[in-house]
């Protein structure tokens, strides 16, 4: 059974990111899905203390917060999806915080500089926004999802869903819903 981690970094309950991870969770009934809604958890920023560095395997983190509890899952899952709103032309600070906490996976000497015990994971970054320079956002999202190589992802996808400023506006866009369905299929595929 595929182990999938769905991360919602949006502070909004019932927002577009919430809708995205809920739809995926429904579709992935036959997978072992863990939902991590950052607004419901305590996640501190990485302090770059370096405790996790220089180890042969993923050692965890000195911080005793909710993020630390999912590090083993980040290491062993088959796929991860992060749904985030765009704030100030980028993923929001909560999503940025999540990615910075990948630091325990950093090992310069290893493949993709990753200490993971499992390579070949799938990672998708799904950004929702009101509008703006979409070509730049898409390029930026494609850059950002590359960061998931740190936790062992090798198959990467990124998406920018535009013109959905309101809570749950994505439901009015069948083209986006179809893309989410395809992401779900992709996560389940070998």
């Amino acid at each position: 059974m595929k182990k999938i981690l769905l991360v919602d970094s949006s502070p909004r309950k019932d927002g577009n990111s919430d809708v995205i991870v809920s739809l995926l969770a429904q579709q992935l009934k036959d997978a072992e899905v863990t939902m991590f809604k950052m607004r419901e958890h305590k996640c501190n920023p990485c302090l770059a203390c370096g405790w996790c560095q220089g180890k042969d395997t993923v050692a965890g983190c000195v911080q005793k917060d909710d993020f630390t509890t999912i590090i083993p899952l980040l290491d062993t899952c088959d796929g991860i999806v992060m749904a985030t709103p765009i704030y100030n032309h980028q993923i929001n600070s909560q999503a940025k915080l999540f990615i910075e906490r990948f630091y325990p996976f950093f090992n310069f000497a290893k493949k993709n500089m990753s200490n993971t015990t499992k390579y070949g994971k799938k990672a998708a970054l799904i950004c929702s926004c009101w509008g703006g320079p979409i070509d730049i956002y898409q390029k930026y999202a494609a850059w950002t999802v590359e960061n998931f190589k740190q936790m062992g992802a090798e198959e990467l996808k990124s998406f920018v869903f535009n013109q959905i400023p309101g809570r749950g506006d994505i439901k009015q866009h069948p083209e986006y819903l179809e893309q989410i369905r395809k992401i779900g299929q992709w996560l389940l595929a070998e």
Partner: protein
Amino acid sequence: MKVLVITGSAHGKGTSALMADEFIRGAKDAGHEVERFDAGKAKVHGCIGCNHCEYGKNPCVFRDDMDGLNPKMLEADVIVLASPVYYWGLSSQLKAVIDRWQPTVFSMQGHKKVVLLTTQASNEDWVVKPVDAWYKNLLRFMEWEDAGRLAAKGVMTRADIEATDYPQQAYVLGTQLH
């Protein structure tokens, strides 16, 4: 001029802190009034996008260190951002401050200068490319004038950066503000 330096590192004596220190020394030597805000030590809740502030009509729902920073940002002639590059971006602590510009963003548009100082362990240019793309967007959206962009590369530790002329470059940039 009023200069506001916002740093993003959790390290008080790290590489980007040194860049900020030297920039501040230069700006003070040139007679500018400098304020500093260390986001890595501050209490700043991430923006929750509630738009209770209605872009500045009402105060933010959070009472934290942004209360003190907001008036300083509005008053500043120059905003200086100093951050380590973490995962191809500014630190999340600094990103949290920037996301909290929601109430001040439109009041700050159009009449400020900005400086961006970054430090990174890697020597590779691609590591900082997304930061530069974002910076260009920031300049365009805020209609701010770039008053200096300094990217220190290949500096993992304090000793690394002390062995380069990046701190000197940051000092000079501070003296050149006008």
